[in-house]
Amino acid sequence: MKQVFKRPECLIDVPFHFCPGCHHGLVHRLVAEAIDEFQLREKTIIAASVGCSVFMYDYFDVDVVESPHGRAPAVATGVKRARPDAFVFTYQGDGDLAAIGTSEIIHTANRGEKVTVFFVNNTIYGMTGGQMAPTTMIDQISTTTPYGRDPEEAGYPLHMAELLAMLPGTAYSARVAVNSVKNLMQAKKATKRAVQTQLDRAGFSFVEYLSACPTNWKMSTEAANRRVQEELIPCFPLGVFKDRRAGQGEDPKRAKE
């Protein structure tokens, strides 16, 4: 009988530590499947980040270097420049990437580094207990916006996939969700496309995954999944914002003119 489903080979056989209903496990799996499908386990070097995703080395049987908070894209830059044949990616949360690491992510994309960034946006700081993230939605309640995010005081949610798509160094930028089978299929496609972009040395590649954090949203897993559909997706539209080889976005050489 043909086997149609199994644990990805690059994942170590241990249970994830993530809370029930957390989407990190799904995104880990998508990334692991892509590593397997492109046969990259022996070429992969991960720059891990700080937050709930810090334990990459407990789950992925590949080489991993830990980065300071927000700095993973700079670490990945150093790794990739020294090992141009390696498959190098970061896996970062919204606080890590879009707050403390804003400078590193923008400049890494703008240099067109041949690295891939998997960005988990659950609109909240998970590891530290549910504080406002740069991606927290208007009126969303967090422990540091107890009356809801007021843009007069706390500004607006950052739209990283669109922002990075504007940069000439970015070859691929997409936003996906993993809250339904249909969205998961799209997410898998985007993940593979981002990997292929790096393998083709086309430029910087980026996938943003809208994700649920039931624990810090203080919701059941079902309600959290619904919230992704009903609140997150309207605020953060899904789609491919740039795929250079598909003819979208500018050519970096022409951007100079």
């Binding site: 022996e42 070429k43 300071p68 700095r71 990945a76």
Partner: protein, 362 residues
């Protein structure tokens, strides 16, 4: 002698860059700041066009993390900056020390606090020798006092970084970085062979490796810190210092870097006048030559520490010297570099040392 190894008149900053390339450094990450700009400019000229990687990063923070990434793969890599930029690098240095990732960092220091100024200063001694960032760690610190040493010690820095799997800091200052001297650009000869079994290459036919500083299980972090501590103790085998005119000395002047350089002239002048003055110049600031200073203090009971700050290394000399030895201090905060005769005047203020009890002097 081929062209490459011909003697030349070179700036200290260029000598650092030349030493790095000679030692096999092919990855440089930096951000502009005075007075060290010749280093990134030299590296840009010599590592572009496929000869290596030069990145002008968006910040000193990004630079140190690019260094962390490149070094994690086993490559010889370097970043350089000056005091305010080195403050920004401290987070990365702490992570590198914690994850045991080597790397060479140059601080052609300027004066602080804050934006301070661009004049020579030794105000970063504490930051350099006490770790500098968060956590209980140390970096190996080399302090050149000439253009030749800027070159030689940079080559050594790469060896020490790999030997100890630890960041190595070269602490110079505006004077050393900007002055020109004759340089003999010697051929690099490694001081040993270094273990590379930990580097990240992609897990080809082996399990994944990781470099990390996060330890959450019971007792794990305690053991990790003890392991680092044992490594810092072992660094003592590579302690370096210069000792001059100690045989009959009654007073030993202790200074490092550019201050020691000026003092060599002052001590020379003192000797010409018949004053029995010696000089100890720590070359490694961490590990500090405490054993040598302790031994010296058993027969020479009087030290005068001179620094371009209000008193930092003097603490290490006091901790090193035997109880009862007298340790005087003369410090100059940033803003001016003293002339040799000024320092000679300061030496005479505490000499002769019979004066261990100065009030008895008539």
């Amino acid at each position: 002698m081929n062209e490459k190894h011909k003697k030349a008149l070179v700036k200290g900053n260029d000598a650092v860059a030349m030493g790095a390339i000679e030692a096999g450094c092919r990855f440089y990450f930096g951000y502009p700041i005075t007075p060290q700009n010749e280093i990134p400019e030299y590296m840009a000229a010599h590592l572009s066009d496929g000869r290596g990687t030069f990145i002008q990063a968006e910040s000193e923070i990004a630079s140190i993390n690019m260094l962390l990434g490149a070094s994690a793969t086993g490559a010889r890599a370097m970043t350089s900056s000056s005091s305010p930029g080195i403050s920004l690098k401290q987070e990365g240095l702490s992570y590198m020390a914690g994850s045991e990732i080597p790397g060479v960092v140059v601080n052609m220091s300027r004066s602080g606090p804050g934006l301070g100024g661009i004049s020579p200063s030794q105000g970063d001694y504490f930051q350099a020798t006490r770790g500098g960032g968060h956590g209980d760690y140390r970096v190996f610190v080399l302090a050149p006092d000439s253009v030749q040493e800027c070159y030689d010690l940079t080559m050594l820095a790469f060896d020490m970084a790999e030997k100890y799997r630890n960041p190595v800091l070269i602490l110079g200052d505006a004077m050393l970085g900007q002055m020109k001297e004759s340089l003999d650009p010697k051929t690099y000869r490694p001081t040993g062979t270094f273990d590379k079994s930990w580097i990240l290459t992609g897990a080809k036919a082996r399990p994944g490796r990781f470099l990390k500083s996060l330890y959450l299980d019971d007792g794990e972090l305690t053991e990790h810190n003890w392991k680092l501590y044992r490594k810092y103790l072992k660094m003592r085998e590579d302690v370096r210092y210069e000792a001059l005119w100690l045989e009959d000395a009654e007073l030993v002047v202790v200074a490092f870097g550019s201050m020691a350089r000026v003092l060599k002239s002052s001590v020379d002048m003192a000797r010409e006048e018949g004053l029995k003055v010696g000089l100890i110049r720590p070359i490694t600031l961490y590990p500090f030559p405490e054993v040598f200073i302790r031994g010296t203090s058993r027969h020479i009971r009087h030290f005068l520490v001179m620094e371009l700050n209000t008193g930092q290394m003097v603490e290490d000399v006091k901790l090193s010297a035997e109880p009862g030895a007298r340790v005087d201090f003369f410090g100059l905060p940033p803003g001016m570099l003293p002339a040799p005769d000024v320092l000679l005047g300061e030496i005479k203020k505490v000499y002769p040392s019979a004066a261990s009890a100065p009030k008895e002097r008539s």
